[in-house]
C-alpha cells in the first residue's frame, strides 16, 4: 500500500513537472494564449437596458431576419438573446481598430478581365419554383408580411 502511494505521488510530481516544462516552453514561444483562464464578473446593472419590443419592432425584425418568433415565449427568448449579446458592451474597445479578417494584411486576389463563365441557363433555373420564358418569376415589388402571420403573437 505504502509503496503504491509513493509511486502514485511520484507520478503526480512528474506530471506536474512536465506541465510546468510545457508551460515554460510556451512562454519561450511567447504564446498569446494566457497560462490561466481569466474572467471579469459582469455587473448586469451596468449593461444597457433591453429596449421594449413593440409589435411593430417585432414585425420589422421578423422581416429582416426571415425568422418568425411565433409566440410570447419566442419573443421572451429574443429578449434574453439581446440581453446576452449586450454583455459585449463591457469589452473595452477604445482605440482598437475593428478586425474584419485575420488575413487583413494581405491584398485580395485580382482576376484578369475575361469572360470565363455564364451560359448555364439550365443550371441556374433548375432551382426556381416558377419560370416564364427563361425569366425567374417573383412576387411584385416588396410585399410586407401578411397580417395573418402576426396573429400568433397576440
Amino acid at each position: 500500500m505504502e509503496l503504491n502511494a509513493m509511486i502514485a505521488a511520484k507520478r503526480i510530481a512528474t506530471c506536474t513537472r512536465n506541465v510546468r516544462q510545457k508551460l515554460q516552453l510556451n512562454n519561450y514561444f511567447s504564446s498569446k494564449v494566457p497560462d490561466v483562464p481569466t474572467w471579469v464578473p459582469i455587473d448586469k446593472e451596468k449593461l444597457p437596458k433591453v429596449p421594449e419590443l413593440d409589435e411593430a419592432m417585432v414585425n420589422h425584425l421578423e422581416r429582416l431576419s426571415l425568422v418568425k418568433f411565433n409566440n410570447q415565449a419566442g419573443v421572451e427568448r429574443l429578449y434574453k438573446a439581446i440581453e446576452y449579446a449586450n454583455q459585449l458592451h463591457m469589452v473595452d474597445t477604445e482605440g482598437v481598430e475593428p478586425l474584419d479578417s485575420v488575413l487583413e494584411n494581405r491584398s485580395v486576389y485580382l482576376r484578369e478581365d475575361k469572360v470565363t463563365d455564364g451560359n448555364c441557363l439550365k443550371d441556374i433555373l433548375q432551382n426556381a419554383s416558377q419560370t416564364v420564358e427563361d425569366y425567374f418569376v417573383a412576387p411584385p415589388g416588396n410585399i410586407p408580411l401578411k397580417s395573418s402571420d402576426r396573429k400568433s403573437l397576440k
Binding site: L110, E112, D113, D117, V137, N142
Partner: protein, 538 residues
C-alpha cells in the same frame, strides 16, 4: 349673352387694362416668393457601369441586351458555396476615374454588405464599399450652359464626396396584370462606380450640366460608355428647399433618372412641387420618388419601406484591396500582380473643361462650337490635327456644318471614319481657296466616304464639281442670264437711284440664277463682280 361686338371700345380697353394689371401683379408676386425667398439644394448619386468584359466578381459577360439569364454564373445567381473573385479591370477603371475626378485614392479599401430584399438581388445583399471607399474628396470643374441660350454660360466646380465600387442588381419586368415580376439576372453583378457629390447644385440646369460633363469624362477615360439610354449611367437626385439663413429642408430622393434631359426636368419639377407644398402649409416627407418623363412629374414610390435598415457588415469573403505608389510597392511583391496608382494615372486624357477653355482661348471659337467640337467623339482631335496655320473659325464651321452634316446623315462614327485626315484637310483648303463652292462641298464629302482612296482633287475633277476658273466662260454665262431676265435688269436700274439698302438684291437674284445654270461650279463673289461690270455698261 353679350357678344364682343356689343361691348363698347371703352369698356374693352378697361377690361384689357384690368387683365394686364392682374397678370403683372401675379407674375411679380410669384417671382418674389419663389425665386427670392427659397433656396434649392441638390446633390447627386451617379451609378456608372464599368466598361469591362466580365462582371465585378464573376466571369460572366457584361454585354448589353444578351438573351435572358444567359450571362449569369452560379455566383451571380447566389448559389450557396460560391465565392466572389474580384475583377482587376474594375478596380483599375475606378482608380483612373477617381484620378480624373481629382479624388484622393485610398491605399486600402474594403468591401461591405448592404442588405435589402429585392427579387433582382438574389443574395439579399449588395457588395459595396461603405466604410472604406476606393476614393474620396474630389473636385470637378464643369461648364453650365443651356442649349437654348448660348450667351448665358458659366463655370462652376462641384465636390465629389466619394467614389465606391459596387455590384449592379438584376432587372425586373413588372407584369401588373398577373401580379408578378419577371427577373433577368444578366445585369446582376456587373461592376458599378457610385459617385456621390456634395449638395453643390442649385437647379436642374446646373445638375444636368454636371452630369453631361461627367459622362464626357467617363467616355474619354473609356471607364464607362455613358450610354444612359442603355442604363449604363443612372442618376439619383437628392433635393430640398429652404429659406436663406435657415437650416436645410427635408429632402426627397428621385431615383433612376436615365437621361440628361430627365435630370434637369425632374429636379426643376421637384423644386417647384416642394415650394408649392411648403407655401400651402404642408410638410415635405423624406421619401423616394420616381420621375415620369411623359407627364414631367415626380411620383412617390409605393413599395419602399418606411425605414430602410441596410445592416451594413464587412464582407467576409473578400480581403482588402491594396493599392501602391510605384515607390511603395513592398519588396518581394510581383509588380505585375498589384495595382500601382501612379502608373495608371499616367497619360490621363485632359478634362473636357480644359479642352473647352483651351480652344475657346487659343482659337477664339464660340462656346457653342467648343461644346460641339468636344462632345463629338474624335472631332476635337481632327480639329487639332488639321488646324496648323489654318483659320480656326472657318475650319470649325466646315467641320460642324459640312463634315458632321454628312457623317450624321450616314451615321458614321468619326473614330472609325475611313476617310484619311489629309483628304479632309485638302477639301477644307479647296474650300478656303474658293476652288469649290459651298453648295458642292457636301456632294464631294459624300463621294469621299464612298471612295475613301480617292483624293478630293481627283473626285472634283472626275465629277466636274470644281469651280470654273475661265472668266470668259463665266462672263458668257452671265450675259446669257441678263438676256433671259430683262425684268431683273430693269429692277436693278430702278434700285440704283435709291438708297444703298436693297441695291444688291437684283444682283444676288442674277447670281443665284447663274449658279444654278452652272451647276454651282462658280465662286459667287466672282460672279458678283462680273455682273457689276456688265450692268454698269447698261
Amino acid at each position: 349673352m353679350v357678344s364682343i361686338h356689343q361691348i363698347s371700345l371703352r369698356r374693352l380697353c378697361r377690361l384689357f387694362a384690368l387683365v394686364f394689371r392682374h397678370n403683372r401683379h401675379c407674375s411679380n408676386s410669384s417671382k418674389n416668393r419663389s425665386a427670392q425667398t427659397w433656396r434649392s439644394v441638390v446633390g447627386l448619386e451617379i451609378h456608372a457601369q464599368i466598361q469591362s468584359e466580365s462582371k465585378l466578381f464573376s466571369g460572366a459577360s457584361t454585354k448589353y441586351a444578351g438573351s435572358t439569364n444567359t450571362q449569369v454564373s452560379i455566383f451571380d445567381a447566389a448559389i450557396p458555396g460560391t465565392l466572389p473573385v474580384l475583377n482587376r479591370r474594375c478596380i483599375e477603371a475606378g482608380v483612373r476615374t477617381a484620378g480624373a475626378l481629382g479624388c484622393k485614392i485610398s491605399q486600402v479599401s474594403k468591401f461591405d454588405r448592404k442588405h435589402y430584399f429585392y427579387a433582382d438581388l438574389p443574395t439579399g445583399y449588395q457588395i459595396t464599399q461603405q466604410r472604406h471607399p476606393l476614393a474620396r474628396d474630389g473636385k470637378v470643374k464643369y461648364l453650365v450652359y443651356n442649349t437654348d441660350n448660348w450667351n448665358k454660360y458659366n463655370w462652376k466646380t462641384a465636390s465629389i464626396i466619394q467614389l465606391q465600387i459596387e455590384q449592379d442588381s438584376g432587372k425586373s419586368l413588372h407584369d401588373a396584370d398577373r401580379n408578378r415580376s419577371l427577373i433577368d439576372l444578366n445585369r446582376a453583378g456587373v461592376g458599378l462606380m457610385e459617385i456621390v457629390t456634395a449638395p453643390d447644385f442649385t437647379d436642374g440646369e446646373d445638375a444636368s450640366s454636371f452630369v453631361r460633363e461627367l459622362v464626357l469624362i467617363l467616355r474619354r477615360l473609356e471607364t464607362c460608355s455613358g450610354k444612359m439610354e442603355e442604363g449604363a449611367l443612372r442618376v439619383d437626385a437628392n433635393i430640398s428647399v429652404h429659406r436663406p439663413g435657415e437650416p436645410l429642408g427635408v429632402r426627397t430622393e428621385i431615383k433612376n433618372l436615365n437621361s440628361i434631359r430627365s435630370v434637369g426636368r425632374a429636379i426643376d419639377y421637384e423644386i417647384k412641387r416642394q415650394i408649392a407644398e411648403l407655401e400651402s402649409g404642408r410638410e415635405i416627407v423624406n421619401e423616394t420618388r420616381s420621375f415620369d418623363a411623359q407627364s414631367g412629374q415626380t411620383i412617390a414610390m409605393r413599395d419602399k419601406e418606411k425605414l430602410q435598415d441596410y445592416r451594413f457588415m464587412p464582407e467576409p469573403n473578400l480581403l482588402p484591396v491594396f493599392l501602391y505608389d510605384s515607390k511603395s510597392v513592398p519588396m518581394g511583391v510581383d509588380r505585375a500582380s498589384v495595382i500601382v496608382i501612379d502608373n495608371l494615372l499616367q497619360g490621363l486624357p485632359p478634362a473636357p473643361s480644359e479642352s473647352y477653355e483651351r480652344i475657346h482661348k487659343d482659337h477664339k471659337i464660340s462656346i457653342r462650337n467648343c461644346v460641339i467640337l468636344v462632345n463629338e467623339d474624335g472631332l476635337l482631335k481632327m480639329f487639332d490635327d488639321i488646324i496648323e496655320k489654318r483659320d480656326a473659325k472657318a475650319l470649325t464651321n466646315f467641320l460642324i456644318t459640312d463634315f458632321l452634316g454628312v457623317t450624321h446623315a450616314r451615321n458614321i462614327n468619326l473614330l472609325q471614319s475611313p476617310v484619311p485626315l489629309r483628304h479632309i484637310a485638302d477639301l477644307f483648303d479647296m474650300k478656303t481657296d474658293r476652288c469649290i463652292s459651298n453648295d458642292n462641298i457636301s456632294q464631294v464629302l459624300e463621294l469621299m466616304f464612298d471612295f475613301p482612296d480617292k483624293t478630293p482633287a481627283e473626285i472634283v475633277k472626275e465629277k466636274q464639281l470644281d469651280n470654273i476658273q475661265d472668266t470668259e466662260v463665266l462672263r458668257a454665262e452671265c450675259e446669257k442670264t441678263l438676256l433671259k431676265h430683262p425684268d431683273v435688269v430693269q429692277r436693278w436700274k430702278v434700285s440704283q437711284q435709291k438708297e444703298k439698302k436693297g441695291r444688291q438684291d437684283p444682283v444676288i437674284k442674277l447670281v443665284n440664277t447663274t449658279m444654278t445654270a452652272l451647276k454651282n461650279r462658280a465662286d459667287p463673289l466672282v460672279l458678283i463682280s462680273i455682273f457689276e461690270k456688265l450692268l454698269s455698261k447698261k
